[in-house]
Amino acid sequence: AGCTGGGSTPTPPASQPQSSQGAVTNPDQLPRNETLYTTGTQWGPPPNFNPIREWDSAVGTKGLVYETLFHYDTTAAKLSPWLAASGAWTDDTTYEVKLRPGIKWSDGQPFTAKDVAFSFELGKMETIPYHHLWNWLKSVEATDDQTVKFTFSTANYQQWDFMLYSRSIVPEHIWKGRSEKEVLDGTNENPVGTGSYKFLSKDQDRVVLQRRDDWWGKTTLGMEPKPRYIVDIATPSNEVAMGMLLQKGLDLSNNFLPGVANLVQGNFGLTTYYNEPPYMLSANTAWLVPNTTKKPMDDPAFRKALAASVDVKKIVEGVYGNLVKAASPTGLLPQWDKYVDQSVVSSSGFTFDAAKAKKLLAEAGYKDGDGDGYVENKDGSKISLSLIVPSGWTDWMESARSISASAKTVGIQITPDFPDFNALVERRAKGDFDLLINNERQLSNSPYTYYEYMFQLPIQKQQNTVNFARYENKKAWDLVEQLDQVKTDDTAGMQKIISELQQIHLDDMPIIPLWYNGLWAQSSTSVWKNWPSAEGGAPKTGAVMWRNWLELGGFETLTQLQPSGS
């Protein structure tokens, strides 16, 4: 009972027997054994419950309250039907979704194909994040109550799959009259969704979700998320989360908790996916991004030397205490191993090798002419690069220092610089930097998203989310666009194009993969067990409440939990 889990909370034991029956519970006091406490997603007061605002809506808005047509199974690498019973390309530019029957909104209204069509049509509004879908989607149409037909002008198969498991379906009967402003900016209090949970309450530092026992999936999917209540806590910082985890007031922390390896090894009742390095599944790749419009980063030879100069192992061990894994030369996440063309990697890949880096520099004509220990440009001018990471991101700051140190050993002068995050965003967008670290692309259904991130053209005045390196390679971008149009089940077709892209990447090294950031998930077994783990029969999904990750297995994890007490 109570928040501390220790025996000293003032909570009277009276509430306990009441809750164990599971029937009527006092919502003012959640029974510990039926409640899941999570943290690590939301850092401040829950601002809204608007599923269109995928990036800042309250935890669980999408995934627990609103649902998507599909989920994506990262282990099997395929879409799994969710609201949709099935989906298929009826011809090259038409996709048809069959919905599951009998699904109801939480207000009791039936869920129909019209809701789906409406939800996608919302994207026609200019400021809706998936507005660009309508650049290649011609129309969406509910042909009957259970069928939705999408007609495309260009069929971007890869992106479309992404859409299928990313877009929340909202009820037309409630959202119909909403203005663009309301759709984009409304807080959407009292959300009506199809999902398994509804919001019970919120406060500055938490949201509380309550399970809907009449959720459609219970019968249709045979699934039931185990926690009757989920309390997602907004902890302001990681060490607080760690303290709470140790106090057993928290079941799942999706924070980066440095040193957690010690706790996993020690007897603290904490588990992670692996019980040895890297402890976590991988969630995204951290890249070292050179500004390829500036000298000498415009020279692939220099970039390759730079790549060889970074001692990622030292960062992985020293900074992260082995909580992360060094990235493969392609930068593709381990989940995409099958797309890595090993022959390309073995012939053109790179590893940390100071001697080789020096050699590459020398061959390319970068020499230390003035004997200050650092090489100069070919024209003799000094090379003095700055590597920016946001101030306050301590692990990255440490990493940047480490990179600077190892670059120094090969003669490249890199000074770490820690501007304010905002300033960094602005400089990044304008291309006003030498080097930076970035990991904004997450695991998805296809490496396409990574290559789009790497090669997207044309270069704008402001590069806001992709191709921060401002790397221009028409051929590469053509290949990426081609890749988009390969059907997602055509693995061989994808592999072929990806192999070419990998060759370009490794030859030109527009961005340098460093390490895989973890899918931070530390869980306590004091109340809930059967957390995902690499071992035995444990679930293999990710244990995360992060936004957009519930569809990537986070939700399935909840259904696999078991109370520890029983």
């Binding site: 990681n238 303290g243 010690n262 304010d420």
Partner: protein, 294 residues
């Protein structure tokens, strides 16, 4: 934080020898300055005596204090003692710069307001009030966040710029009572101008008071700096005790049982500031016979 009493100005000169006599016999003063001195020397000479770069990763991360690493090592294997001695240095730098700037501004405003009186006083008073009422930390937070603090010195500068109001007030009150003394009029009749009178007549009479003000400002700067460091608005270069605290906290030192990383910097700040406060009370006793224990 101790507030300086707005007591009547004292007459230090004649008592100077006597003051020295009491100073060396005042346990508070001696103990306070003793502690500060030891830490100061450690900060000054430590970095020279103990070679090494404080932020360099070592080979044995997370090890408790031992003969090799006196204060143990951090998560990254950095030597805590090495960071500690470097950090001490920055702490003193922040204290001197922050306290110094605040003292200079506070003195200037206080002297001018107290001596000139009238409208000048009112305007300066208003300025003081504005700075006083605006929560210092909030302003520092904003300034720091937007301008960024690179070095300990810049941090000291900003702290100094915001910390002076109470000192100005205290000095103003003292000046107020001194300016009605007749030697001030006599100086005017000897052809001295305002500046000269403040510098040559009023300030020397308050020297002990000014010194104590500086001590308190010094302590205040150290504390503010540590708070700023702690919430991640500290200097991005170098080491300081506050940054050590921040790092220890961020990398969950206590939760992971690495008390040796978290305790020394905080204890050193407490020791420096506390010792200064104690010394300040001692000084007060030395200069003010009424406070001496009878």
């Amino acid at each position: 934080m101790t507030t300086i009493q707005e007591a009547a100005p004292r007459e230090p000169a004649g008592v100077r020898r006597e003051a020295l006599y009491f100073a060396v016999r005042n346990g508070k003063l001696m103990a306070g300055f003793g502690i500060v001195l030891v830490l100061l020397l450690l900060g000054l000479f430590g970095p020279l005596l103990f070679a090494g770069v404080p932020n360099d990763y070592g080979t044995r991360p997370m090890s408790p204090p031992s003969g090799e690493h006196w204060f143990g090592t951090t998560t990254f294997g950095q030597d805590v003692f090495l960071q500690f001695v470097h950090g001490l240095r920055s702490t003193f730098v922040v204290g001197v710069i922050g306290g110094g700037i605040a003292a200079v501004i506070g003195m200037f405003v206080g002297f001018v307001a107290g001596y000139r009186g009238g409208i000048v006083d009112e305007v300066l008073n208003m300025l003081t009030n504005v700075i006083l009422v605006i929560p210092t930390l909030a302003v520092l937070l904003i300034i720091n966040a937007y301008l960024g603090i690179r070095s300990v010195a810049v941090q000291g500068l900003f702290i100094g710029l915001t910390q002076w109001p109470w000192a100005a007030r205290a000095i103003r009150a003292q000046t107020f009572s001194l300016r009605t003394r007749e030697f001030v009029d006599l100086a005017r009749m000897s052809g001295s101008g305002t500046g000269k009178i403040i510098a040559k007549e009023i300030a020397p009479n308050m020297s002990s008071y000014l010194f104590m003000t500086f001590i308190l400002l010094f302590g205040g700067s150290v504390l503010i700096a540590s708070s700023l460091d702690f919430i991640g608005l500290g200097p991005t270069e170098g080491v300081s005790l506050g940054l050590m605290l921040q790092n220890a906290n961020q990398w969950s030192a206590l939760q992971l049982g690495m008390w040796w990383w978290f305790v020394p910097p905080g204890a050193a700040i407490t020791a420096i500031v506390g010792a200064l406060y104690v010394a300040n009370v001692g000084l007060d006793e030395v200069f003010n016979p009424k406070l001496r224990e009878t």
